[in-house]
């Protein structure tokens, strides 16, 4: 590939950040200094497009923004046209192409936080730091809804620092500007401060009978020995006894369906991938968790990271994958740190790598961080993101099991889906199916917000009895921004039960709205979310989400029938004609609020 550069030079720091990831350049052809020898031969850097996102992170983590010199240097190192790399870098909300302060504060103004006073936090931050845009941003859901309202400061440096403020009170704001980066739980790549113990997110922690949450808050997430002592790696041993086909049979028989939102039968996905003649096969664990109100995957990854490592190993064994990617959202510093540690420890102890447990299985996990883009959780956008392309969904067919990551057969599964495989193998498919566990992310107007584990069949009322509610419950948003509002608390929390009620379990969001919450501004926030997070590829969603937001602004000032008709028509077109699930669901919650809650009556 013949590349043309404008000649911008990286700073020493930028060069060092990239070299720390990629190693020093081999010659002047990929960005090193020119020597006599370089003039006598032509060479080129190995194209390594999939290192683009990690390289952008490397610079952004160290310097805080990505200059033209830094981008050109990355392009030389990886043989990427600068116009394309620019297109990728500008896709992600966590990157800046303009100089900005090293410390940037992300203030969540999303649904659960809004229900818990995010607006007053936002206003105080604005008073203190000035208008949003450089030193602070309004952020979509940070996945810490149980501690709403939340804020996260990210500070570039070596190592970068992530400081959590949750709950963020108006009083903590004054310290957000220059809080001293003191560390608890120092980690390989990032210092995380301000965190609370993981059991705080699990009101049921330590109770008997839990399957998915059994170790959270009770077993040290850093200790592989403790994990094994608490039942870890019995499922993998059972898998080896059953053989790959036997594992798939168990998963099929268990009836497990995906927990990422689409509820597709996991066994069928695994079976279809295992049968593909094309090789290699890839495994992708979708840990991009960005649906507003969702935080269950974070809690699993922070509180029981080895469970995910073990589950991914089993999935890889069953479907014939030698490599797995764990794609985790960029705003989850503690989960990243915990998993980096768990993967490294498992590798050192022969539980990842070649010949796992002496059974001849070769499998390893590479962790990839997202950079602020909800759409990258869509199952084909995640491939583009990993490959170093813009995180735009691909059109289906072909489906991932046929042509997925790098064009090869790929299994994509959600974190919660994968960890369900452990109890399936430990207890057997039938025992599992008799009491199938499901996680719910309960937030909003409740006494004890957090992740709850129930067996399928419990009703919404039973869940809210556990969490307790505050104020007078007006409605519950099920399934997040892509879900729907319901008012009937006797809905059974099953995929079928919620569907029958015109809602969805989605990613397990249960956001309780009391009568103190302004529904109109909640709807505006949902519309804003979809407008911000649309990848921009297809017209119904790119323009439709903007028109939906504009109409909601008008409607919250004055109810007008023409605008209601307009919303319906635009909404139906987004649902019918958009490429992916983002556009297809962008009108769900608004529609249900109009029809069931009578917001604009």
């Amino acid at each position: 590939m013949d590349l043309r550069f404008r000649g911008a030079e990286p700073s020493e720091e930028e060069r060092a950040a990239v070299d720390a990831l990629l190693g020093p350049p081999a010659s002047a052809w990929d960005g090193g200094s020119r020597t006599e020898a370089d003039l006598r031969f032509a060479a080129r850097a190995e194209a390594a497009r999939d290192q683009l996102l990690p390289a952008l992170h490397a610079v952004n983590d160290r310097v805080g923004w990505i200059s033209e010199g830094a981008l050109e240097y990355i392009c030389r190192r990886l043989t990427i046209p600068p116009a394309e790399a620019y297109g990728v870098a500008t896709f992600y909300a966590l990157f800046s192409m303009k100089e900005r302060p090293k410390r940037v504060l992300h203030v969540c103004t999303d649904l659960a936080c809004q229900a818990k006073g995010a607006e007053s936090v936002r206003r105080r931050v604005e008073d203190h730091f000035g208008p949003a845009g450089t030193s602070w941003h309004e952020s979509p859901c940070l996945g810490m809804c149980e501690r709403a309202p939340a804020a996260l400061a990210l500070e570039a440096g070596t190592p970068p620092v992530a400081q959590v403020y949750a709950p963020a009170t108006p009083d903590t704001i004054t310290t957000m500007a220059e809080a001293p980066p003191s560390s608890n739980g120092s980690t390989p790549s990032v210092k995380v401060t301000g965190e609370t113990p993981e059991r705080a997110a699990v009101p049921q922690a330590g109770q008997d009978g839990l399957l998915l949450l059994r170790r959270i808050g009770t077993v040290d997430p850093a200790s592989l020995d403790d994990y094994r002592a608490a039942g870890g790696y019995t499922a993998l041993r059972r898998a080896f006894d059953l053989g790959p086909a036997g594992v798939i049979r168990e998963v099929l028989e268990s009836g497990l369906v995906g927990r990422g939102g689409a509820a597709f039968p996991t066994g069928r996905k695994w079976d279809a991938t295992a049968r593909q003649p094309d090789h290699p096969h890839y495994l992708v664990c979708n840990a991009d968790e960005s649906e507003p109100g969702t935080f269950k995957d974070r809690v699993i990854m922070e509180g029981d990271p080895y469970a995910l490592v073990e589950a991914m190993t089993i999935a890889a064994y069953a479907t014939g994958c030698a490599k797995g990617y764990l794609y985790i959202r960029g705003e989850y510093p503690r989960a990243v740190a915990r998993l980096q540690h768990a993967i490294a420890t498992a590798r050192a102890r022969g539980l990842l790598g070649d010949d796992i447990l002496g059974k001849g299985l070769s499998f390893d996990i590479e962790l990839r961080r997202g950079a602020g883009a909800y759409i990258c959780g869509e199952e084909t956008a995640i491939f583009n993101s990993i490959e170093g392309q813009r995180g735009e969904p691909r059109s289906k067919p072909p489906f991932p099991v046929e042509k997925g990551l790098f064009g090869k057969p790929t299994v994509v599964n959600n974190v919660e889906t994968l960890v369900n495989v452990l109890p399936i193998l430990e207890r057997g498919a039938q025992a599992y199916a008799a009491a199938e566990p499901k996680l719910f992310c309960v937030s909003g107007a409740v006494e004890r917000p957090g992740v709850y584990e129930l067996t399928f069949g419990a009703t919404l009322r039973e869940l809210l009895d556990l969490s307790g509610t505050t104020g007078t419950t007006r409605a519950v948003l099920l399934g997040g921004a892509a879900g729907a509002f319901v008012t009937d608390l006797d809905i059974p929390l099953t995929f079928e039960g919620t569907r029958a009620a015109g809602a969805t379990l989605g990613s397990g969001v249960v956001l309780v709205i009391d009568d103190g919450v302004d529904l109109k501004s909640l709807l505006l926030r949902i519309a804003e979310f979809f407008r911000d997070e649309s990848c921009g590829q297809c017209v119904p969603c790119r323009v439709g989400t903007v028109r939906q937001e504009e109409a909601l602004h008008r409607l919250s000032r004055r109810v007008d029938d023409d605008d209601l008709v307009l919303l319906r028509e635009v909404g139906q077109t987004m649902r019918d004609a958009s490429i992916c699930g983002l556009g297809q669901t962008a009108w769900n919650a608004v529609e249900s609020a109009i029809d069931r809650l009578g917001v604009f009556r």
Partner: protein, 280 residues
């Protein structure tokens, strides 16, 4: 050289109740053409891989949850397709409204005709509806980029990139409504990798990319396609023998295109053929 291909099987597809027979691998759009149906398309390009981004070509496929883009969805044996159902027409109408309200479609061929056919009303979103309006980028003598007319069909990027030119001067930048076609850091074309082959201009469906001659004449009000003639000839600059179609108005060449059905060049040219007509 025409590569030998295995003979393709024929499959039967039902379009609006009428059965048509098309080779396996055809798109629904191909089948519609075989059935004599005229489906609007914008981002589809006859020389490019479908990006299926604009969604103006959606049709209803029996049994499918959502509508399907005719331009890229493969026809399958026994598929029942409705091109003119209420649902498909409604989506096309709204897509035209969404585009028409955000983008200047005054130079998009057939746009006005479709707006009328589908009874679309782009003005319904009000005067405050966000648009992509911006000044045209005039940074070189050969062609102009007027992105207030851009519908983000990705065709120019695909033509500049790995589908034809392999120059990669432009890419898609930003996200959502703020997405644009851009060089790195929005640098002027003269600073970019652009080689002025004009193959992006060739595929642009809206007139967002146009010859500087056309842009200037439109500004003066002298551009008049009814007065233009088209002559196809062979480029004399080198031995490849590309076809040039010279568009002539008032005895002056006002732009150069190239036939897309040429089996070798498929409408692509280099800077000499495209813009080197000063000598004629």
């Amino acid at each position: 050289m025409i590569p030998l291909q295995p003979p393709r099987r024929l499959i039967d597809v039902e379009i609006d109740g009428e059965t048509v027979r098309v080779p396996e691998g055809s798109t629904i759009l191909d089948a519609c053409a075989a059935a004599g149906k005229d489906i609007p398309t914008l981002c589809y390009g006859d020389t490019l891989t479908p990006k299926n981004a604009c969604r103006v070509c959606v049709v209803e496929v029996e049994g499918a949850r959502t509508l399907a883009p005719a331009c890229s969805r493969k026809a399958e044996k026994g598929m029942k397709v409705g091109t003119d159902t209420e649902r498909a027409r409604q989506s096309r109408k709204v897509v035209l409204e969404l585009l028409g309200s955000s983008v200047d479609m005054s130079t998009t061929p057939r746009a006005a005709e479709w707006v009328e056919e589908y009874d679309a009303d782009p003005a319904r979103f009000g005067d405050d509806a966000a648009t992509v309006e911006q000044p045209a980028k005039v940074d070189n003598e050969l062609y102009v980029r007027d992105y207030s007319k851009c519908i983000m069909c990705y065709k120019c990027v695909d033509a500049c990139g790995d589908q034809w030119q392999n120059t990669f001067a432009i890419g898609v930048a930003g996200r959502g409504f703020d997405t644009t076609i851009s060089t790195e850091f929005d640098a002027p074309l003269t600073d970019s990798a652009c080689v002025y082959c004009g193959n992006c201009v060739e595929v642009c469906p809206t007139g967002a990319l146009s010859f500087k001659t056309e842009f200037d004449m439109r500004a003066e009000g002298t551009w008049d396609e009814s007065k233009q003639t088209e002559t196809t000839t062979i480029c004399s600059y080198c031995g490849v023998g590309c076809n040039l179609t010279l568009h002539v108005q008032d005895n002056k060449i006002v732009k150069v295109t190239s036939p897309h059905d040429n089996p070798v060049t498929k409408g692509n040219l280099c800077v000499k053929g495209r813009f080197g007509y000063g000598y004629v």
